[in-house]
Amino acid sequence: MLWDALTLGLGYNATLVTIGAALLGVAAGVTGTFLYLRKRALVSDAISHATLPGVALAFIVMVLLGGDGRSLPALLLGAAVSSWIGLMCVNWLTARTRLAEDAAIGAVLSVFFGFGIVLLTVIQTMNAGRAAGLEGFLLGSTAGMLFNDAVVIAVGGAVTLALVFVLRRPMGLVAFDPEFSAASGVNVGRVDLAIMGLALAVTVVGLKVVGLVLIVAMLIIPPVTARFWTDRTDHMAMISGLCGGLAAWVGAALSATAPALPTGPIIVLTSFAIFVVSLLLAPERGMLAVGLHHRRFQRRVHMRQGLLALAQGQPIYERFTLKLLRRAGLAHADGVATEDGKARAAKALRDEKRWELVRADQAFESAAVQYDGLREIETVLTVDQIAEIDRRMGGPTGVMP
């Protein structure tokens, strides 16, 4: 059943929903990357909630003009206009008053949403029967998705992706270093607006599939996930698009397999599952990798301290150090060094002395900055340099009786 759904074998509507959702997921993931890098991920929350009054007003206007009121492009146009106004309000409140951006976001999203609900109740009293579709914009409703709707999503997503591709350089630049980009002639305000505008486009296009409360997740979770896997903007955008598309594909397929599995929430939860896997397993940034790295570092510190203690004949009380030394065959259970241990300890002490000379000498400055108490001196200096240091240090000499 699930395999059928994943391979588009569950009938026309399920196929349409799955493809539409996946396209949307890719577009949202790629666009959200820049929003996240610009550290303004939550602006998307304001944008998405601000679509509601626009949808409702567009519906009212269409009905007043004698139409059916359910033309998706017109509703989406209304959504785009009102969320643009909301975005301008956030920007204006942040720039012109003392309110911080978070307060501006919260104020705009709640007020616009509240006004949208007022308009929804107006619509309910206008003609209760035909308004039923509008509630679908809150949490998404894919059940009645038509071919035209899928086309709107596909075209909207493709246009957004193309614009992201064109604008990727200035957007990346502004996200990382707004001052530098301003100094090199990029209009930061306008690029910011472009980032927000693209997020807005994705939000509006995605309203029908996941609804305005959860579209935020499609813009935020994939970029956060992608950030674990790479340090390059272009790779991040691609991975993010991939994660978003995958989550949407799997989520839509899952929700098609049973009746009480709403598409939007399932997509969000799938996306979150991918995030959790990345959080745990990603190389370098994942928790497992960080934990292993920390563990390795801890061992090196203990080993080093243990060897220095052995060399200077100090007793070792730290259990973990003793265990490491014993396991490496460098010390006996009572903390006395083995022959091997004595040799390694002497080497460690000698290296420490070498480092001392290196760090005291201006000529070795570039090598000295690499000292962190653990680094092997051979990895920093050449054999000749070490020989030079050793010559200055001098060999062991006897004591005159």
Binding site: Y36, D102, A103, S110, I117, V118, V224, P265, F272
Partner: protein, 308 residues
Amino acid sequence: MTGAEFVPLSLTPLLIGVFAAVACALPGNFLVLRRQALIGDAISHVVLPGIVVAFLVTGVVAAVPMLLGAAAAAVVAVVMIEAIRRLGNIEPGAAMGLTFTTLFAAGVLLLEQSDTSGVHLDVEHALYGNLESLIWLDAMGWESLFDPVALAELPVELFRVAAALVGVSGFLWVCWRPLVVSTFDEGFAQTMGMRTNVIGMALVIVAAIAAVAAFDAVGSIIVIAMFICPPAAARLMTNRLSTQIAWSVGFAVLSAVLGYILAGYGPLWIGFDNAVSAAGMIATVSGVILALTALWGPCRKRLGAPAV
């Protein structure tokens, strides 16, 4: 309008609206000042899964389990945000957005999966509340306020919201000094020996209690309006905290009363014959108040710092 009409139909929703607005606006002042305004956003979203889980565990829609469930969900959300932020090294805004959308999605899914058709619990209700239905059918007029039989039939939500308001005010009263110091200068508060993270957590829990009490009446998203708009508007009116709180309470009461009246009677005045959503109108009025203060408030500009 006579008392015989006003008391049963409008008095209790009006009071509940006012109490809910004030109960949210009070902790909202501190959330706005701490730049944690969106914690209110996150809380009001995660209240839904908390309530659904409480319902699934207990099987009844009752005040205490719902309150506990929602408070627990708020704590889970805050811990999750912190954990994701620290473990993944992710900026707080994104961690917050990730957490509350996921929890909200989980709440919607649980709601769809469980058989809640028989009880008063659905997503639309959770999002925009149902203030108008909280009427006091047993009242005959003003004299009912002194009639113990009629008073016993007051909607239970009124007591819940009033209790939340008392609790929130009590918390602010008791913790005023540490709260103020840690809000304005966290480092100083720490050197004074205050446990700032405990205070921050307590503030979040109190906000969650206010949110869940108000949630019942006004729905989860409009709770955010009450958390943010009145305090933000008050912030543009004054530079003193106590004055700001007074303004915010005033604005909250004003938006609740004006919003309720406009929603109930506004459409009648302009010729329609049906009321609109009171909760939505309250949020709208609070937004209008914020817009007015943002345009003409005496302290609307940033002091000292250049406009960014």
